[in-house]
Amino acid sequence: MSPNKHVDNLVPSSRIGRVDALSRRELLQAVLGTSSLALTGCNRTALPQAGDYLAQDFALGHRLRDPSATVALPTDWQSVPVVIVGGGIAGLSAGWRLLRQGFRDFLVLDLEREVGGSSRSGNSGRFQFPWGAHYITTPMADNVELIELLQEMQIVERLEQDGSPIVAEQYLCREPEERLFQNGTWIEGLYPALESTEDDQRQLEEFQLSMHQWSQRRDADGKRAFTIPIARCSTAEEFLKLDQLSMAEWTRQQGWTSARLRWYIDYACRDDYGLTIDRTSAWAGIFYFAARLRSDRSESQNVITWPAGNGHIVQYLSQLLKAQLRTGQLVYRISPTKPGRAEAQSAQLQPADDHKTESPVYLTTLDGQTGVVRGIAASRVIFAGPQFVAQRVIDGMAERRALTSNFRYSSWLVANLHLSARPRASGFPICWDNILYDSKSLGYVVSTHQSGIDHGPTVITWYYPFANVEGKLSRDQLLRLEWSEWADLALTDLEQAHPDIRQLVKRIDIMRWGHAMIEPGPNFLWSDARRSAAQPLGAVHFANTDLSGIALMEEAFYHGVRAADEVLANGVRSH
């Protein structure tokens, strides 16, 4: 976990300034949204005694934002043929690809003390639980590279005749998969079916049929309109024009007025993109459903999940890349010229200069723990961090700023609640995913579901996207609230379905994700800016899920593999 770890965050509310008090209250109200919840401020007695309050590493991240924080020039230089900056899924996948192609001479650097980025997981000793990403969907037959990885991990057991993967039973999400808390009881599935009218039902069926049709649409060249990864989607105008309007607008155009259907689609947008239905591009909204439907089947591809969520993939890859991984290393400058070239040390540098490619790239790194500054000369760099960091780190990004300035990121808050027993509830029994109809949160996922531990203590992961708040404002809100306030909000939200939750919760760990997910709002996904951001800049190649315009493991993986292939195609050589 990141170093800014607090156990004692029970800050009395008196510390909150008087002027601020009202707006804080409003803020608290706004977060949960439900008017019925009369938040009276923080109920300290009803909170567990402990919990971590985490965030992406501020201390190091701050160095990036603050130009005045001058960092010494590196005295110690080494040269490494390939450096991957960022150990999220994209960076790790790039490393996996390099190893698989027999290339071992590279490093993976991440500023956090733990790798994984937004796919990392936690461990309480007894249980593992996700901190962010928690599932993938079974890839289609044509996603060959991802299937290769999953085969290597023994998640895919074998292939069907047509190349479709057959996933080992224990990794497919166990039934019952999801339930919804509506009108005071839990019902099976995601659709708020209670008290729905015939018209609601008809519209739902129309919608499902429509998604099925979209999943089968192909362009003149036979490319699917919607598939994963996005790079393999058709770029025919008839499909791309969907990106110009919001999902809400498109739904209206279809004549669907059902409030239940709208809730269902809005939930999907919030769940996958952290955006409400009116802030999500219609192309992205349809993608969520259609890209996961196999053209010959009406059911969605099965969900693959682990107790640690996608942290399971991170664990596998980082084990594989043990020799290459360096954590706690902030890369704060990447430049085509050697910083402080005039200095005497330059003589010691022997970068790999015998490549036919451009001159080397110079990286300056800061060790988060020791404060030691080091230099690395690399023939190739894969920058696997997000674009908003690239802007600050890479010299020569200035011209690109215009391109990347419309990369926007939403914020998320994730709370892991350690429970002493399963909460009581009426209706359909506890599932992997448990959603509240009357809430702005996304409910919770049960970490022990997949391991078959159905009784006793567990950890549940509560997700809250700032779905209707613009990115910068949401980050502001995220940081303004204390641990105790977030803990109280999570409990208040869950209490509507589980009145006994406060007695059961022993600990709440909270993670604030400031730039959690790239936002696929209208006119972004298929903009030139998004598409050209993946082009290499000199010897720097890019890989991150944000280059796809949506945050998905499969997309991060795709870019990692692509960037690794670009690097290999340039003929880098081991020393």
């Binding site: 039973e169 224990q170 166990r174 027993a421 029994p429 078959g452 531990i453 159905d454």
Partner: protein, 507 residues
Amino acid sequence: MLTRAPLSLLYLNVLVIATCGLVYELLAGTLASYVLGDSVTQFSFVIGVYLSAMGVGAWLSRYIHDHLARVFIEIELALALLGGISAPALFLAFPFVDWFAPLLLGMVFVIGVLVGLELPLLMRILQEHLEFSDLVSRVLTFDYIGALLASLLFPILFVPHLGLVRTSLAFGILNGVVGLWSTYLLRPLLSARGLDRLRLRGGIVLVLLSVALLKADQLTLLAEESVLGGSIIHSTQSPFQRIAITRKGKGFQLFLNGHLQFNSTDEYRYHEALVHPAMLGSKPPEKVLILGGGDGLAVRECLRYPSVQSITLVDLDPAMTGLSERFQPLKELNDAAFSDPRVRVVNDDAFVWIGADDTTYDVAIIDFPDPSNYSIGKLYTTRFYRLLRERLKPDALVTIQCTSPVVAPKSYWCILASMQSSGFHIRPFQATVPSFGIWGFALASPQPLGDVPPLDPSITGLRFLTDEAMRAMFELPGDIRQVATEVNRLDNQILVRYYDEEWHEPQ
């Protein structure tokens, strides 16, 4: 001197005393026949002990010379406490004591002695105020009216509406109130010294009993009894399930979450069918795995084989295995199976446990509850059967209970199909268990199965199985025919849905 008014009130006192005394006696008799069965024996023992104890009390009353009124009240309070807690205390003690009958009769005896003391003392208190003939006639009249009231109201009103536990506490309270009230009625006969202490004691008794009455819900099993159709002799809510044992007819029955697990009168049919096809078919089995079966009855059958070196029993609920170890009737039924040094009990979810175990077994007996919910349903999935296969020697044999093939054919054949698709060779069989009807099982092995095994004459104690009965189990009648089903997997849990449809149960 007592005035006239309190005199007539004292007859009321007699009435209440008589009613309470008889109610305690009836409670003890009913409770004994509930939990021990054989009501004729139980009632005649209880009545005999009670009446003779009353005689002992009457005889002892001659040794009381002074402070008659005070002693009378003390006795009344003691009776209130003892009688009041008698039923709940006996219920609570029942599962855990070997000497239940002596305990119960001992309690009846003490109550009888106290009741026996009361009347002579009261008569002596009143003798100064009444003619002897008048006194005897009035006191005895009220005494018998009380007895009549108790014997009529007990079966008609109290047992059906309050249940044993609450009746007991309610009469204790009534008894205590009368005791406390007597401190006012008999005030002229009581010395001021220690009067407050006496009243305080009365108050404490009342508070204790009232608290117990409020908490009696946890013990009151009325609603459940009407569902389970027998008198409940033990019931607990463990973190995992509701366990209830009822007595009905000659036997007792175990229910988990309201589902009948066995009836002691015919469980031998079920357990012989479940265990012996695997045990007899295997080369002398040494290591046996029992999954579920926390009642210890399958263990009992396995222990008939001298070749057995170890039995590992995996059952989720320590409350269940604990009950089988200590609850007398159950312990008798399973021949104290858990005391055998070869038996090891593991309290864990079999699904989690089987992925972590590393022994290989000769025989596995699967005796899980029916797949009525998802957390049990996972124990019938191909994933589970594959993990089980890894725990078996190549020539191991498995038997499994798989619900009724007549009531729930899809469920039955789905279980078999799921085992088959996990690499087991499988043979269906069935047996009739009166409490369940026709019940379905399967014999399975990683290797092809041979002929139906003959019985082994050295294995004694079987009541149901003979060579013919064994062969007959494997002959399926015409109404048990394979139906096509899906395979039960973790990611479809189709079996829970089949089971739900076929047994028409929610969840």
